[in-house]
Amino acid sequence: MTYERAKDAEQEAGTVPTPFPRSQQPRTESSATRTSAYGAARPSGTLARNVSVRGLNAWYGDNHAVKNLNFEIEPNKATALIGPSGSGKSTVIRCINRMHEEIPGARADGEVLLDEVNVYDPKIDVVAIRRLVGMVFQKPNPFPTMSIFDNVAAGLRLTGTKGVGLRERVEKSLRAAGLWEEVKDRLKEPGISLSGGQQQRLCIARTIAIEPEVILMDEPASALDPLSTLRIEELVDELKARYTIVIVTHNMQQAARVADSTAFLLDGELIEHAPTEKMFTNPDDERTERYVTGKFG
């Protein structure tokens, strides 16, 4: 069964180069296959993808930051990456959407599979990957020169969405991010006029507007006050119903609250990956135990 991404307005069907012969069917927005903005004609009924990391290595210049990582991330679940500073957790997720290589001197190799698509396949367009894998950064970073509305619409405008369809999707995203009620009367105001917590939710709305399948979050609440943090965590809980979430956090209580499974990294290596409850109560590895009980890091 072919998956139809009927939402994106990329109409140049005949001329669009695709890496996979299977998906050469023209993408049309006929109402038969079109469902709500967040639904799709997919067997499992969700967007989320399975992420497999195989043999991932990453360097900053000569610094070998991620060493031969292998692990699986389940769809529709939140997976937390924990570990002390410098353990490579942020580097790992930046490899998933290939943002790592944007840093001068940085490189990576190995495989990161989104379902069966290898992100590092040279035939694949990096820009296309980043539409599938959204990212929320540690410090909220709405575009300073854009209004609240324009911020959320930014990614959608790239693919030509306009008019009523655009407004609908912006509203949907803001609702899904729990921000709609607070901003619905001031959509034209600058994105940076919001508080820190609201800005981060705006960034989340911006990310989910383009309907990615995986959402990466790099310590999304670490710059926020406790109340905002809680709201973000609630959001993660809601979002995982539709997306695969990978969240980096240095806060173990957060991991315990939010994640279904947790992976512990140390010095660029994956030490252990287990369901969260097991990780925090009965880890297999001794180093994991020392970390989660606060003996170091």
């Binding site: 072919t2 139809e4 991404r5 001329t15 996979f20 993808r49 820009v127 296309a128 539409r131």
Partner: protein, 288 residues
Amino acid sequence: MTAMPVVSARRRRSDLVARGLLATAAIVALIPLVLVLFYLVKKGAGALSGTFFSSDPTGAFLGNQGGVKSAILGTIELVALATAIAVPLGVGVALYLTEYGRDKPFAKVVRYFVDVMTGVPSIVFGLFIYITLVLTGVSGTGFAGWKGSVALALLMLPVVTRASEVVLLLVPESLREAALALGAPRWRVVARVVLPTALPGIVTGTLLAVARAAGETAPLLFTSAIVNGTNFNLNERTNSLPIQIFNDITQPNNQLVERAWGAALTLVLMILLLTLVARLVSRRSRLT
């Protein structure tokens, strides 16, 4: 089985076109550089000769026009005097701003006006000096070399001040405090600690100001004017390369035009040399 979103061909094309256009802009920016250098060498190299450098312009209507000796010497003299005026004043003002003025309102005003001075066209400086020194016949003469130097100094002053202020601010406060704590009076700290540390940066700024002043024509037009003979009396009209070139360009005499190209090549080489030395000095600075 799942599909991949792809980037539309239209977007890919825009990206490529944009890259192409921007790279073109960079190339276009370089074209004049190449062309000017090319013609300078092509038309000017032929004029350079022994006599070119060793004889003065004759100012004759016909026949031998002579070389540019007085122009080269004149430029050196005028710029040297201008530097001797501008550097102490410029560094002095910079010292005031960093050591005493800091954020006081008066210092802010001074800083603002120094900045303003960088935007004043050089011909306006020439006019200033013309009105205040030449018309009034100060020191008994109308046009005089030293008056041209003063005009050049006005031009150099803001450049030297700004460059010096930047470097002086880079001198770590801890260095000053250590010296002061040892009981040294402030003037000593400035003379023995701050200035020596900042020296390479100040030299760089000065050299760049010198390079700029050496090429200026407008301020000299009605201050030091033009003359043919070499003189070492800066209280009289003094020749200089830019003025000589300016004069020769519009003459309907091939020899003169060729001389102008040779002089232009010489001037550009002098300026390039100064700029390169300035860069080398700045590399050796511990601060920048």
